[in-house]
């Protein structure tokens, strides 16, 4: 008998009689969650900018970077300010020297500051991790209260890889001292658009 069959048989034999699955229902206050989202992002060391148009994003990016920095974006609307990546053309390892990556997110979650990003939005899965700095663009109309709302939105959407990102990469492994920039981005900006 294969290990698979042996394991499944033993599990079947030992599993207890069926216990019902609960229906998860958490009431959510009906309100605008933007202020909570912004406040949460600040606790995650994220720089938050409310912007009216792409020009404002471009200006902030330019003010925060050097001319020699490699800046890339997966958003066609920002191609005046960064090198536009619209499809996978090269080996992902070539992204190693990206200083700043600007990507969109589907929505943000107020309770934890996480933004939901799928592979279609980033082209290269490694992009939001390998860049030294990350900027995420999100519409203020897409701020949800909590993770239950988030998964209601995610159900039945298509992705091959997706990730919740909540701030820059970090570690506190050395004596519980928080250090930003463990392996991924050392800093993160969130641009909130209309």
């Amino acid at each position: 008998m294969s290990s698979r069959d042996k394991i499944l048989q033993q599990v079947k034999q030992h599993q207890p009689s069926t216990r019902a699955l609960p229906k998860v229902e958490i009431a959510v206050e009906d309100k605008d969650w933007l202020a909570d989202f912004k406040a949460r992002l600040e606790t995650l060391h994220v720089a938050v900018f409310e912007v009216s148009d792409n020009n404002s994003i471009g200006t902030i990016i330019q003010n925060n970077s050097k001319a020699t920095d490699r800046i890339v974006t997966t958003m066609a609307s920002l191609k005046d300010y960064a090198v536009h990546i619209d499809r996978v053309e090269e080996d992902a390892h070539q992204l190693e020297n990206v200083e700043l990556a600007i990507i969109p997110a589907h929505f943000g979650v107020a309770e934890n500051g996480a933004v939901w990003v799928t592979d279609a939005l980033i082209k290269y899965r490694v992009l939001p991790f390998i860049a030294q700095q990350l900027a995420v663009v999100i519409s203020k109309r897409n701020i949800l209260a909590n993770m239950h709302q988030a998964y209601s939105r995610i159900t039945n959407t298509n992705y091959e890889f997706a990730v919740f990102i909540a701030g820059p990469s970090k570690t506190a492994d050395i004596e519980q001292s928080l250090v930003l920039g463990a392996h991924g981005p050392k800093s993160m900006m969130v641009f909130i658009t209309d």
Binding site: P22, A92, T155, E175, Q176
Partner: protein, 462 residues
């Protein structure tokens, strides 16, 4: 680089840890600080208790339908293009990983945190076969360089001082001698591991949750090391215990709300990565590991321990863990949860662990999936004594105790003798041979027993 497994009994290993009182106090305080952060953030969620109840019920449902969910997960993962492997035990798990690496002629691999691979001894096995494994979680890399196992499932080097880490990095990564600033040391590790990520063709990750409904799996990290490894590699191997299955994608909402808050007091980990399909030109493998779990599932009193989501909250709150250190539990998973999981695998080797507890119940109170941890500790003690695995000294003293307690006359005499001894010849008991006097002073013994006192007083008041 392999580490030596500690097989000294918990109490003896704890005694060694306790020699440095200042360090014990520091360790205790650091973990309590994390417990307090967990309290603060959990109290800020109105529905916290409701979430714990949901999580517990979902996990009960999982255990009661595990064989069906495993097959559903397997079918969906295969449809997604993932190769699924089944390992009955640690040896088979290690052999599967080795075979995959050999097929691709890979002899160097990066690995993000996986307590399962610690449980299976994968690093040691692969290194013996000439394959280099580099742990990429900062804490895990630190203990790997120190040739030690992790001492905590979430905070692998919580037992180490920054000066010791500075010394290790000086030796292995060439940092400045005497440098111990966490920011400086983290930057050095970032540089060293970036080069590693860019040059390794295989990455192994753990799995936090595997969704039966969709065939996807979720990996949570703060550092981004699982993603850096997996996305840059030709081969991604994810290893999971069979109990990591959850039924539906929407259930992730409950578990992701509970996990990081319980673990470190954060609202969520920086990254919660959902892996559904391999990238083009990439291979993705999942190894489903039993290693005693299917037997454990059949033990009614103990099966709830399989609900564990590995947050480590029970360790941070445990007065014994905080003062004895993770290494004294001689297993990949230490603390209260380790003490109820490991006797299932090897009762003789782990017979000491259910006794490494005060049974205060704090672990049960903080557990996000409502495992009855302290009740199980108590039940394990009875099983261990019945099966004849109790430590000899404990067995002898329990026999004497049983004899004394079975007769009121002997009990009265023994009490009298003990009080007399403590008052007049304390050195008879207060010595190295009596473990009750280790790190403890006994209170002054009263002249009479409660029974005698009650008799006299009742007479006065009648």
């Amino acid at each position: 680089m392999s580490h030596t497994k500690n097989t000294i009994a918990h109490a003896d290993a704890a005694a060694v840890f306790n020699k440095d009182e200042a360090r014990v106090n520091w360790h205790d305080k650091t973990l309590w600080f994390i417990r307090e952060k967990r309290d603060k953030i959990s109290h800020s969620i109105d529905e916290w208790e409701q979430l714990r109840e949901y999580a517990s019920q979902i996990k009960n449902n999982v255990l009661s339908n595990l064989s069906e969910y495993l097959q559903q997960f397997e079918a969906n993962a295969i449809t997604n293009g993932i190769t699924v492997h089944w390992a009955a035990d640690a040896a088979e798990h290690n052999a599967i990983v080795h075979r995959i690496l050999k097929q691709h002629n890979i002899d160097r691999m990066v690995k993000s945190k996986s307590m399962l691979t610690e449980e299976c001894g994968l690093n040691e096995y692969l290194e013996a076969s000439g394959i280099e494994v580099i742990d990429t979680d900062l804490g895990e890399r630190i203990v790997q360089l120190a040739a030690e196992p992790p001492s905590h499932i979430v905070l692998p080097c919580i037992h180490k001082k920054k000066e010791e880490i500075g010394e290790l990095f000086h030796e292995h990564l060439g940092t400045e001698k005497g440098a111990s600033d966490p920011e400086y040391l983290t930057a050095a590790a970032r540089q060293h591991l970036r080069e590693t990520f860019l040059t390794r063709r295989a990455a192994l990750t753990g799995v936090n949750f595997a969704v039966a409904e969709t065939g996807e799996f979720v990996v949570c990290t703060n550092e981004g090391n699982a993603d850096m490894g997996a996305h840059l590699a030709d081969v991604h191997i994810a290893c999971m215990g069979i109990e990591k299955i959850i039924p539906q994608q929407q259930h992730l909402s409950v578990f992701l709300r509970l996990l990081a808050r319980s673990a470190t007091g954060q609202p969520i980990t920086t990254y919660s990565s959902h892996f559904k399909k391999p990238q083009p030109q990439q291979q993705m493998h999942i190894v489903l590991v039993d290693n005693g779990r299917s037997i454990h599932l059949g033990k009614e009193d103990f099966r709830n321990a399989l609900k564990c989501i590995r947050c480590g909250a029970c360790m941070n709150t445990c007065p014994v863990y905080r003062r004895s250190g993770g290494h004294s539990y001689h297993n990949a998973v230490a603390g209260p949860i380790g003490s109820i999981l490991t006797p299932n695998m090897d009762m003789k080797k782990n017979a000491d662990l259910p006794f490494a507890s005060t049974l205060c119940g704090s672990c049960t109170n903080v557990c996000p999936v409502k495992i009855d941890i302290h009740d199980q500790l108590y039940k394990w003690r009875q099983v261990i004594v019945q099966e004849g695995y109790a430590p000899t000294a404990k067995k002898a003293s329990m026999n004497v105790m049983g004899w004394v307690l079975s007769s009121p006359k002997i009990y009265d005499m023994a009490g009298k003798a003990a009080r007399w001894t403590l008052r007049n010849t304390p050195f008879v008991v207060n010595n190295k041979l009596n473990p009750w006097f280790k790190e403890r002073e006994m209170p002054a013994a009263p002249k009479q027993s409660f029974k005698e006192w009650y008799k006299t007083n009742r007479k006065i008041h009648e």
